[in-house]
């Protein structure tokens, strides 16, 4: 295994130190316990939108800390949820008197640690919104429920914009829940990521196979099938997403094609182009777009397609100014 790391156990910390130095005008990095806050404090009374999760998904979540988006982010070890004491410290540091909205990806580890953290912060107003946009998982009694994947970024953007315009905690939570309800994703892996601690691919895939319905923690997906080209994969992902959203002709959406960490941008645009054509054929208008590697899975080769149904308010919150390491307009 060749990776640009020194001691494996120091990888998360060293990366975080570099991130903090590179973006010192935007963020402050705290190391013990680990969390990232904005360099400039929030206006008094503003809701602090906080998110977090395992490391290895960069720029999610640390790269989304800044004006118009997150007030703080809590990185865990590689693919491992942060611990309750870390999360609680980030809540305390980020709170500006307006309370905390925690955006949590629906993974058992994240849910349990954020839940425990909320119990540690008596006296602080904490609301939690779960993102479970991954249509690859059946939401039933027989699973831990749908995972939170790339749609998380869109929820964080609109929630951050709502907080910035001065909405109170209940209103920011309401907007975040509405966004989470309007977004669906599905991903594919062409090659599994190599987790530094094991030095091995997190699942085995031959050159002729793809894994459909992967999450972002290197866990295998729903099923494996022969590789049949970009258009076929795009159709499989997009159909699953749009069927689940029950998109109708005349609706307006945000189309987000996300790279998993080791996919060339040029290939993401191939997928985007095909998806855009397919949506147009169904009479669906793509009003906003995002293409790039934002919710990654270390060096996984693959992509995910995310569609969010837009209304006027979600569109204007998406368009609102944002100034973070990874997103700015």
């Amino acid at each position: 295994m060749k990776k640009l790391l020194n001691a494996v156990d120091d990888a998360v910390r060293e990366s975080l130190v570099g991130f903090g130095a590179a973006h010192e005008e935007l963020v402050r990095v705290h190391l013990d316990p680990m969390y990232v806050t904005r360099a400039q404090p929030l206006l008094r009374g503003t809701v602090a939108v906080v998110s977090g999760g395992g490391s290895g998904h960069e720029p999610l979540h640390t790269g989304l800390v800044g004006e118009g988006m997150l007030a703080a982010a809590v990185p865990g070890e590689m693919f491992t949820s942060p611990t309750p004491d870390q999360i609680a410290a980030a809540y305390q540091a980020a709170d500006a008197g307006g309370g905390v909205l925690a955006i949590v990806k629906n993974y058992t580890g994240d849910v349990l640690n954020f839940e425990t953290a909320a119990e540690l912060t008596d006296g602080l107003d904490v609301e939690q919104v779960l993102v479970n946009d991954d249509v690859a998982v059946e939401d039933s009694l027989f699973t831990a429920g749908r995972r939170g994947v790339a749609g998380t970024l869109l929820v964080e953007k609109v929630a951050g914009a709502a907080a910035e315009r001065g909405d109170d905690l209940a209103a920011v939570a309401e907007v975040a829940r509405r966004a989470a309800g309007a977004v669906r994703s599905m991903g594919v892996a062409l090659r599994a990521p190599v987790v530094p601690h094991t030095g091995r691919a997190s699942f085995d895939l031959t050159d002729e196979e793809v894994e459909i319905g992967i999450g972002i923690h290197g866990e295998p997906g729903r099923h494996r099938e022969p590789f049949t080209g970009a258009d076929a994969i795009t159709a499989a992902l997009l159909d699953a997403v749009t069927d689940d959203l029950r998109l109708a002709s005349g609706e307006s959406v945000l189309l987000f094609v996300n790279g998993m960490g080791a996919t060339p941008l040029s290939e993401l645009y191939v997928v985007y182009g095909r998806a855009r054509t397919m949506l147009a054929e169904r009479g669906v208008q793509v009003a906003r777009s995002l293409v790039g590697s934002y919710v990654t899975s270390l060096d996984m080769q693959g992509a995910s397609i995310t569609v969010m149904r837009l209304d006027e308010e979600l569109t204007s919150l998406w368009d609102a100014p944002v100034h973070t390491a990874a997103l700015r307009w």
Partner: protein
């Protein structure tokens, strides 16, 4: 024979050692049906626990040690297993505020741990989780204590039942935790959390022997 504070210290030391030895095995099990980090996370946590307990100045009760194990695991493991094992040791510690544990107190300790895991994880028996090791362990401990066994024998019965319980997860289809995303494909693999639970209970029994 009762189990005292020194037993709890030995348990922690043996558990840390056993988890280090099983690290690769746990990573491999987790790689099959999870994300492959269970061995690494637990090893990091128990190394921190061992250091913390070694440095503890004269703990008066077993519960004091177990509570320290709990808070250390919660702040060092992460993932799902951090809060699950953390809550297990927290509840076990709550009912073990004694200098010495007899057979019934050992049963109460194990019941507390199981209750912590089920209330935090909301999983029941047969969902391919650590509950499948802890639930039979508690049943076996209740039977053993009821038959008048010494604490060491109660723990041995619990540990053996946990090992059987971990093996019983192999054919199961997971309905909780990350393995549940695999659906039917999760069958045929032992649950890593059930396996690590069996390792921890075996360490408890060996510490008492």
């Amino acid at each position: 024979m009762t189990l005292d504070v020194e037993w709890a210290r030995r348990w922690v030391a043996l558990a840390a050692q056993a988890i280090t030895e099983a690290k690769d095995e746990l990573v491999e099990l987790d790689r099959e049906i999870g994300d492959g980090d269970h061995g690494v996370n637990l090893d990091r946590g128990f190394a921190a626990v061992a250091a913390k307990i070694e440095g503890m100045d004269r703990p008066a009760t077993v519960g004091e040690i177990l509570t320290t194990v709990a808070t250390t695991l919660m702040s060092s493991v992460g993932g799902a297993s951090g809060p699950l094992y953390g809550t297990a040791f927290l509840r076990a510690g709550k009912v073990s505020g004694l200098a010495e544990l007899g057979p019934d107190a050992v049963v109460a300790l194990l019941e507390g741990a199981l209750e912590g895991i089920t209330s935090r994880g909301r999983a029941g028996v047969g969902e391919k989780t650590m509950v499948d090791a802890w639930a039979p362990a508690v049943e076996a401990a209740v039977r053993s204590a009821g038959a008048g066994d010494e604490p060491a024998a109660v723990l041995r019965a619990a540990a053996d039942a946990a090992a059987d319980g971990a093996r019983s997860t192999i054919p199961l289809v997971a309905s909780k935790g990350r393995a549940s995303y695999l659906g039917e494909r999760s069958a045929g693999h032992m649950d890593p959390g059930a396996r690590s639970s069996a390792i921890l209970l075996d360490a408890a029994a060996r510490a008492a022997a």
